[in-house]
Amino acid sequence: MTEAALNVEARTMRVPIKIWRYDSATGERALKEYVVDAPEWVTLLDVLDIIKDQQDGSLSYRKSCRMMICGSCGMRMDGAAVLACKTRMYDIVQSGHVPVISAMGNLPIVKDLVVDMQPFWDKFHAVKPWLQPGYEEPPDGKEYIVSQERMNPIHKESLCINCGCCVSECNAMESDPEFLGPQALAKAFRFVGDPRDQSDVDRLEDLNSEHGIWECTRCYFCTERCPKGVDPRDSIAKLGAESVKEGIDRDLGAKHAKWFVTSAKTTGWLRETELVPKTQGIVSAIKETRFAMTLALKGKVPPPVPPHVAQDVEESRKLYDLVHEQGRDGAAGIVQGERGIARMEYLHETSGEEPPDADG
């Protein structure tokens, strides 16, 4: 069916929308309101197309595929990053809400809804997003065959379309623009987890830099915003676990995480008072003495001795030993959170019918 035919058949609605216009040449910024008549099936991108076509040709935004695969049309609706082509307008119009559209965050605005993606691509390239197999030719001289099971752990990261929606609202990057950020780190995990890649340890070393994985603030905005279900926070957590497993634990973030494990193993509780010296080292901790004393005077620092040991600490110790013994190697060793969520959603939508087997 052609678009024209669809237009004839579809009912139309009146769509009011506000757009933050910006001109970096003059620095002018203004919130403009538009109202268009559009078919009920339109997406935000369709509405922008109609405005540009019929009302204001100077409106600037990026687009290409119009079907959620090119990653061009990332922008904010009411402050939240979305793909314009994935955002249907019908429910919003029905609710009576007038959405405010603006450019993505954490990237410089070029004009209107167009941002300069260069900082994004610089970080993307910094994680060496290409395969480093460590061999000239596959072992049998023909091809390197990877099982689906071995690729599953990096499946969701492979779905990334580089749209920047996760980066737009990254809270850590807002505070430190140099932070590598969710997109680059999710992409890094896609290669660290690839069974063909032979440079995992080198990659993890690089990712443990000042602006690497341990600067993530766990706000989960990336996971919330990603239009493709990549769940970058999950990838960053896995990179942290892989780093510690490889013995790369020099970062304060890694030391901090390791102390939780030690605490649980030794007492079954978190030994909070020792968390600072165990994370920052004794010298830094002493520099923090005055701050620590302020907290101690308020009764916020429980005495570390004698440690509070849980009654069933043996369970915690046995569990530690078991997990340690099993290791986390291979596809089955990595928790597939997204897969579980997808299945839950499917079961919910089909009222309990099992999803089809991925292998057919």
């Binding site: 939240a80 304060l252 701050f291 308020k298 579980g340």
Partner: protein, 203 residues
Amino acid sequence: MLKGDPELLGRVNENLQRVGIPAYTGSIEVRHLLWEISDGPGYELLKQAAHKGLKGLRVAPFYGCQILRPSKLLGHEDPDRPWSLERIIEACGGEPVDYPAKIKCCGFPIIQAREETALGELIQPIEQAVEAGADAMVTPCPLCHLSLDAWQSKLKKATGKDFQMPILHLSQLVGVAAGLEASELMFKRHVVSVDPVLEKLEV
């Protein structure tokens, strides 16, 4: 998450069994105090309990990250336009104050590993709450409570700004409205004094 993945649940339970811990059945629904008292029977109980009120105290809600996101797993409210804290503040007789950073991160998870970055996050909600004219901030998250309260002194050192913004935990806000004594609510453990709030309420 485990309920949706029988394979994973099987592995977890096998491991639990090996160390002598009863299997996880997933039959317990985990609920947060925030959700319990912002809607349904819990909300009705809250309204009865909060008989002393807050005399129109201007309270800035601060949600905390992992009670809002990932919303697919939590699902209590719209993570970008949450309403539960505002509803509780109103039920307690306070006036909710709105500001953009109420859904953002306080920086606590990296406050030891990347203090500068964390402080850059922490200052946003406190500064915005001050600008919006809040008498106090309230959060349902114990870690947000700690960073918002205790790390204000570090913000002062880093930026020269001395906010002195009293930070209440959700349970303390309800406690004040229900007429509990200041001593019961352990305000003595706060780094930033809560006295201005208590004076305003004549507690």
